[in-house]
């Protein structure tokens, strides 16, 4: 009977068998490892910071480069063109959408953000970031954003740990300091540009003091409002201001409606009076002229002219008179029998 042993018939996997293959394989493996840790790539928007045994040795530009392999030299790629955004008082979840978190993740190890007890009691955490006191001890809700980029990758990599948290803490401190020197009305309206400018400058100075290698590009205020509890009364002030202006405008409008018209009417009346005056004097002159001319003629032949004038008048007059009764001059009186109904044929003599 043949006893079959499990491995019988199969080639034994002993190192000795691989003898001729072992060394080349190891060498191949080493070569491969060496190659992959020999080369590294730096992207277009990055710079590479190279450390040899932990010590900084050089910075490299974008492209493919070589370094000492096997961890002797390490490269950290620093995104020097990327513009970072830090938001305060709100968070953009996705572009165009804004919601409120219920909580905030702690960043690892020592960089933990501590929440105040108020938040732990359930207040909106972003409100804590945005509520601040103004110089006149009022309260405003200020949302803002800080944009920055890495201007010196070496400083950025080696001088400050937790750059992001440092920037956040200092941004809050700076913004509150600046807002604390302005009135609430300035903060809400016309002081915004000044505040942004001051905050940016102060933040940059601080970061430069630490040699953080950061350039603050912008500090931009977003929504700046009074707290919800007092919003209504602030709106009331705005409304009152508008009302005031409206009242004044209406009064002015009324003035402009009435006065020019009155002036126009006055002008018209004066012109009419002048017209009347002209007419009057002209008529007088005309009448006088006519009289004088007639008088001239009259003087030449007074009796005849008088008679003529008289007869002309009667010719005009008699048709005008309605009812005429002609009696003899010697008739002394009339019978007092008036026809009470003038339409009937009269039978008076």
């Amino acid at each position: 009977m043949d006893i079959r042993y499990p491995n019988e018939g199969m080639p034994k996997l002993s190192p000795m068998r691989f003898g001729p293959w072992l060394l080349p394989l190891i060498l191949l493996f080493l070569a491969f490892a060496a190659t992959s840790s020999l080369f590294y790539q730096v992207d277009q928007d990055e710079e590479g910071v190279v450390q040899r045994f932990g010590k900084y040795v050089r910075t490299t530009t974008p492209g493919l480069h070589m370094k000492l392999p096997f961890g002797i030299e390490i490269v950290t790629n620093v995104p020097v063109k990327h513009v970072f955004n830090e938001e305060f008082g709100y968070r953009t979840l996705q572009p165009g959408v804004r919601t409120i978190y219920a909580g905030r993740e702690a960043s690892p190890a020592q960089g933990t953000m501590r929440m105040s007890r108020e938040f732990q009691g359930g207040m909106d955490p972003y409100l804590e970031e945005s509520l601040m006191l103004t110089g006149d001890l009022n309260i405003a809700v200020v949302e803002w954003i800080v944009q920055y980029l890495i201007k010196d990758p070496v400083q950025y990599a080696f001088n400050v740990r937790d750059s992001q948290e440092t920037i956040r803490n200092m941004s809050e401190a700076v913004m509150r300091l600046v807002v604390g020197d302005h009135t609430i009305n300035e903060v809400l309206t016309k002081g915004r540009v000044e505040i942004q400018h001051e905050a940016k400058k102060m933040l940059q100075d601080l970061l430069d003091d630490y040699n953080a290698g950061i350039e603050v590009r912008n500090v931009i205020l977003q929504d700046v409002t009074p707290p919800n509890e007092v919003k209504a009364s602030f709106n009331e002030v705005n409304q009152a201001l508008q009302e005031k202006e409206k009242m004044i405008n209406q009064a002015r409008q009324e003035y402009n409606r009435v006065i020019p018209r009155a002036k126009g009417e006055a002008e018209q009346q004066i012109l009419e009076a002048e017209g009347y005056a002209q007419e009057r004097t002209n008529k007088a002159k005309g009448d006088a002229e006519r009289f004088l001319l007639a008088w001239e003629e009259y003087r030449k032949a007074p009796l005849v002219t008088k008679k003529r004038l008289y007869l002309e008048m009667t010719a005009k007059l008699y048709p005008e008179i309605g009812e005429k009764i002609i009696i003899d001059e010697s008739q002394k009186s009339l019978l007092p029998l008036w026809n009470l109904n003038p339409k009937k044929e009269g039978d008076q003599s």
Partner: protein, 310 residues
Amino acid sequence: MKQTGLAVFIIVFSLLGIVMMNSAYVVDQTEQAVITQFGEPMSGPVVEPGLHWKTPFIQIVHTFDKRILNWDGYPSEVTTLDKKLIWVDVAGRWRIEDPLRFLQAIQNERNAQSRLDAIMDGETRNVISRYNLVEVVRSTNTILEKKDKDQLDIDVVFDKIEVGRNTITREILNAARPTAKELGIELIDIRIKRINYIRDVLVTVYERMIAERKRAAEQLRSEGQGVRAEIEGQRQRDLKKITSEAYMKVQAVKGKADAEATRIYGEAYSKDPDFYAFVTTLEKYPQALQNSRAVLTTDNEFLKYLKRSE
């Protein structure tokens, strides 16, 4: 015999490797190291980054961060000098200045954070309770120049500050520094990250703000009414002036014309008053006697020929 040789070679090589590994250590650019031997510090802080050597196994390397580190404490509830109850959240920058001392006093960073919490909380309270709230909020007096420039800043009185926010934070820093130094910590910078009223006080503050706004609104409205009344008065005054002046002129013009006409008439008619009377009266008869009833005798100029021809 070759095999044993190879094995020995590998073992020796590995042992050598392990020894080598334990006698070299790397200090990163961001780190500083302290070497201890049996718990005793051996050499001062090694701050030069790079590859260094030590006695293997016996000596231990403790590395610490060399960079600027963050500290952000829990907010403290503080009462200011003028009895305002506020939260103050202070944050700062620090560094391990003396890693040896740090190692002996605190051992690690997490301990450092809580030690700093304790120190800063105490000093913050100490300093801030000696000042009024406005001193903690403001840093300059520039706000005083702005009053009255805004018609909405009505009645607000701006106090002048003596000290200011920056001085106060510097005070806190200076007070805490020595204690921190003993722990090997350099406190670089302290800033007030947040100040806010306590929740209950907030309500009162809101009420004050609302009342102030209401007052401002009232004032604006009454100002508006005032100006409006003024303009209306002016309108009525100007209107009267215009109409009365116009009347005056009209009357003058008319009067002058009437006078002139009278003069012209008078001048002409007075040359022969009788003739004037005659002509005018004749003119008036037709109109005056229109549609009347007349009894005429034949004794008048016109009708006399009815009787006879001369």
